[in-house]
Symmetry: C2
Subunit: 322 residues, 2 copies
């Protein structure tokens, strides 16, 4: 295996959008500790695996998971071919923008909509539909493409870890094929380093051309207890650092920080209503309750977006002096 032997040059401030404070210092101290040759906590490059949740950790997730908004747009786009939807829940709720009914339908309702809108096409056709949507849809609050709603401090963190020979993975409840359409361009994370929820696909040869057809059947849900399972299945090695923002990431952080040797767990707390959104214990999307309670005793770092981040999104003006 190729192992980079050269020590990376340290720039004076590799995390310019992070304010000085406990959160930033804990990250820097961890990286310093595991990269110091000869130290008892040294971790060889091939074991430097870091995993990141996506929704609410790398990009925003309000007013609803962005893939959820994509799904609702698909329902609207496909509605003319499905006249029955205007009387049939949960499709009716989507067409009427009835978020209350949709919330009540919960995950089973969402899965029903996903099956009806994400299946019956080839993987290549699905990729095209997602890319078209990402190119044209705009966020209701910021009026920007969704892929602009990524967190500048987290982009810097991904770069900082990679500069220290970490292999960075996304481990998210989102659809794996949805995320792979933009993960490389937006985060520098190649498709094979994206772990997510999957639906069953079937191999077929159509007119001599091999295709993979997406079937209306869930394969794997990469959330909560599914995250350690997904990490084991796709990565096959226990990461040493995990970054999340909700109780859906709890088991991922527990699994990662439960290993031997130096470990790092971090939760992002959305507490900045002015620059982004403020939500935690009582939120449907991105609920953070148990994580807030247990982070201190588990030694997990909690990031206050309000206090720890000088800049949220790349499109914000960079502050002077940072």
């Amino acid at each position: 295996m190729k192992v980079k032997q050269t020590l990376k040059k340290k720039t004076s401030n590799p995390l310019p959008s992070w304010n000085d404070g406990k959160a930033k210092h804990s990250i820097e101290a961890f990286v310093q500790r595991i990269t110091k040759t000869g130290s008892k906590d040294f971790v060889p490059a091939w074991e430097r695996i870091a995993v990141f949740d996506n929704d609410g950790t790398l990009w925003a997730e309000q007013p609803f998971y962005f893939q959820g908004l994509f799904i609702f747009d698909r329902v609207r786009a496909l509605a003319p071919q499905h006249p029955e939807w205007k009387d049939k829940q949960p499709f009716k709720a989507v067409l009427e923008n009835d978020m209350k009914t949709l919330d009540a339908a919960g995950m089973p309702g969402l899965v029903e909509i996903i099956m009806a809108t994400h299946a019956g096409m080839t993987t290549e056709e699905f990729e095209r539909v997602v890319k078209d949507w990402l190119a044209t849809a705009r966020h209701p609050k910021f009026n920007k493409p969704y892929t602009d709603l990524v967190y500048q401090p987290m982009l810097e963190l991904l770069d900082f870890l990679r500069a220290n020979d970490f292999k960075t993975f996304i481990v998210s409840g989102g659809g794996i094929e949805f995320m792979r359409t933009f993960s490389e361009k937006v985060y520098g994370v190649p498709p094979d380093q994206v772990v997510g929820s999957t639906i069953i696909t079937k191999y077929e040869v159509r007119d001599g051309k091999p295709v993979l057809v997406r079937e209306a059947k869930m394969d794997f849900i990469d959330d909560n207890v599914g995250k350690p399972v997904g990490i084991n299945k796709f990565i096959g090695r226990r990461p040493i650092a995990a970054f999340g923002n909700s109780d859906g990431d709890f088991q991922m952080l527990e699994w990662v920080t439960g290993g031997t040797g130096p470990r790092f767990g971090l939760l992002i707390h959305h507490d900045d209503a002015a620059r982004e959104f403020a939500y935690d214990r009582n939120s449907g999307v991105g609920k953070l309750d148990r994580g807030l309670d247990e982070a201190p005793k588990r030694g997990w770092t909690v990031v206050s977006m309000k206090k720890d981040w000088s800049r949220i999104f790349p499109f914000e003006k960079k502050e002077t002096g940072t």
Copy 2:
């Protein structure tokens, strides 16, 4: 994303165990064609994905898949705790070395044995059992550890492709957690670049310690039509080169070479009874029938182990002059 910009130095002969001939030349010509900057067939580094079957392609698979031999040894080791096995097929056949009955039991019989021997333990316990077996078991013909029975020309090919910025993946019918115990050390392929068959695992916290428990339930079989599905699920990008040896690799080669742009497919033909084993159209393990018929018209390279490889295993004396 980090892209290596430097052109790799070409050693005079990066494939010393390959005899001059059509097979070797087809590999070299393909790599030259896709790495030549400015050429219309140039493929950027991040799209240089190559996939390798394991059994019969990277290491031997006779007298039976090595993982099968491991499984049979597990049955023998666990038999004292299962007195009922001596009267119960297919376990009885294993204990009596009755390969004819085992062959007749086929894949369902093998899966039954896998479920009874590979499940009910944590992923860490399973890893230990596999590593202990690989350290002590010996191949019946060569009297060597199984991990010595890897093909020297294929190790050189893996290195050659990686030196040309390929990312190399294993895509095999074997158990993903079985292969991951040795893939990095033996092939230089890290665990997250191994795609294989999976069983269901379940996340649990036992006495405050998080574990993943292997359940007696298959999750995914990465063989035949499963290989393109596995590639799409785990890698998320269509590879440009595929290497196999049996009809279980047919769909993988078909999927890979069915894409647009330059593509490469190669099948290894086991035709060297003296130095290894000779088998093809009528073999139970590693049957190669349709592949031999269709390789010419599909433009796939067929390697004769007898004619194209000057050396089979690393432990063989290196021939002079190569």
